[in-house]
Assembly symmetry: C2
Amino acid sequence: MAFELTKEYVEQLSNAVDQRDEVFIRLELEHLFSADISVLLSELEPEQAYYVLQLLDIETGAEILAEMDASIRRDLLALFDSAQMARYVNVLDSDDAVDLLIEQSVRIREEVIALIEDREQARFIVDLLPYEPDTAGGLMQKELVKINVRQTVTECVEEIRRQAEEVEKVYTVYVVDDENTLLGIVSLKDIILAKRGSSIEQIYDHEVIYTSTYDSAEDVAELMRRYDLDALPVVNVQKRLLGQITIDDVIDVITEQAQEDIAAITGVSEEVEEDDSVWKITRSRLPWLGIGMIGSLLAAKFLGIFEHDLLMMVPALALFIPIIGSTGGNVGIQSSSFMVQILSDKSGFTGEFWPRMLKIATVALLKGVMIAAFVFLITYLILSHPVKLSLVVAVSLMAVVLLSSFTGTVTPIILNRYGINPSVASGPFITTANDFLGYSVYFGIAYLLYNW
Amino acid sequence: MAFELTKEYVEQLSNAVDQRDEVFIRLELEHLFSADISVLLSELEPEQAYYVLQLLDIETGAEILAEMDASIRRDLLALFDSAQMARYVNVLDSDDAVDLLIEQSVRIREEVIALIEDREQARFIVDLLPYEPDTAGGLMQKELVKINVRQTVTECVEEIRRQAEEVEKVYTVYVVDDENTLLGIVSLKDIILAKRGSSIEQIYDHEVIYTSTYDSAEDVAELMRRYDLDALPVVNVQKRLLGQITIDDVIDVITEQAQEDIAAITGVSEEVEEDDSVWKITRSRLPWLGIGMIGSLLAAKFLGIFEHDLLMMVPALALFIPIIGSTGGNVGIQSSSFMVQILSDKSGFTGEFWPRMLKIATVALLKGVMIAAFVFLITYLILSHPVKLSLVVAVSLMAVVLLSSFTGTVTPIILNRYGINPSVASGPFITTANDFLGYSVYFGIAYLLYNW
């Protein structure tokens, strides 16, 4: 029962906006969730979306802005003055407010903060702005419900009632001491189930999982996934409670990570959407087509060395250029994606270095021998090539499998050590390098064997 | 502050198990979360893990089993008799209980169900067993908290208190009528904030997002992601409330989807882990290395047709075989991954078919012209090849870009229509086919131009 956005619907709304048909627009949007209105407005011109937003109340408008893609939101917010922006920022969760402000110039950002009515919200935002977006600090919101460990359950319900109006969703109630040190958690369910007279001390859970502001978004996602958490408290070095990260923000992190990995593997350098211009789409694809081109032209130049004394003598050598290229590429991708999987699996345990390398080398050797034997038999017996050529192809394939396994294994480890997404190692750059390596080995071995 | 599992720790525990050192084991595990114990036990032999489980209470043991990888759990459960298994199944959430039982033989499954003490739980399991694992029905649990719309908030709190003991985490309270039809939801927060005297009718939210048992796990994930839901109610065709899906189960769906996509792209056919045997790892990689081999050998056979009249005459043609292969592969992957992205983005709107194809064709033409021009200039001016050869290469590249864009765009659409994961289209099979197509075009054009 998801809302499906059709072209007709967008046109209908767009026309209504152009005719300033306030009644129709209000009536239509009343039944939609803010996430859907957000998608809908993203399809309109910024001026049209601006008009629609004016018709909605500030809370709904703020939710819509929070759901919107950053690039579309930027164009839309360009139409707002700082006072208007401040009205929306005023009611947003602090993490969403920061996401919105971080896209603005420093001047506008400071104007908006100065104009926010709720001074606590302004303070929250100033606290959160310095954190890097892809850390726990960048993901956290300041809004949370906390109680002092010395309170009773009855006091606690009153406290929650007071604080909960500020907080969109209450997942967990944090238990702190007088210094705001995080001691544990208690769920709303436990509070409802507890006897009115009992103290928080008696019912709260001491075993709490928390994170520090500087932890990476990836680690936060892994932590919340592993322990099935709905909310994760964020503390400073003194274990003082600073904020919380909620599960909905982490789902976005997980989704983005997966998209980044796939983009790295398929070598798309810039994020593009279907409705971007032809030129933008083309441009996003040129960088690594360019790398591929230059790599292949270098290969052409390199193979040219053998044109006269080898290719002219044995033109059949050319027939096996494709098999060398594709084997190197395939084996490299298999090894690197296996390594990437191992590197990203933080829950598994890490064995020792050399036994692991030995195992990888054994797999490579086994693959190499099987491929070489298979191709030798086909080339010699079925394609009826001379034994010398068949031998050159088989030995080269063996060498290519070993070499590509090696580069495919080592590259992700090196990239990971330097903080680069190791998925890149399954991408175009490495594939091009592997191809080149493969051709060199092939013609090198052919040259040796034919001039022997 | 995640728990890090070291080889030393596993060995220490393993020794303690072999020496039946109950005190040490209890002491060590007391401070660990069940998710961590689960990872730890997965590293032990099934007999060792079985011994450890016996030392823990049934609730903790059940949580550990629920967190465990299916394949490891199967080996471990093989050591249990039906009565023991029933004790764990008795306390699990119904969805986890079903996941565990579905791996067992029908005989054991029925024995266990017969032995479950909690007869409501047994009924839940019988209800859930028939659903396909990758549908909403397969993801849902029967445990939930619901109230009748005619109740007051005070009655509701009592009702929640009664029901909540059964339910691990209370996210949302579902509001139903006398026929169990889903009317809306009310959050625990709203109940705490509401005046005691008010009726549920006054405070509940009518706008509720729900799903049907037959909806796909992917759609469920997309729905929960889009609307930031913690729990999603599942209804039948009469809109009767059947169960709910919680966010932690959906995170696993999202993570698995991403892994499947990456496996499809990098062409790993069987899921392997680092500690699998050398032979298992090798075997998992052979199928598509095999496809690549056969494709390349066919290419060798095909190119062989041109060996005498073309390659002997113009051996330099061989130098550009790599550029043809890699361009076809690269362009194909770019087009297909773009198409996969469009197909998976259900929140975006779908334009009309022909204008979209026209756009894709324009991008392909633009890429083709730029690449052809660039390579012609390099080949002719810098590598100093004859104009005829440079022309053959440039024209072929142009054709290869157009063809690969076409296959890369169309293949995911066709796969998607037949219910196959379209990510496969970025994988080895399509790449091999594209390579082959590229070589045919290249030698076809060369043959025409040189025999003209």
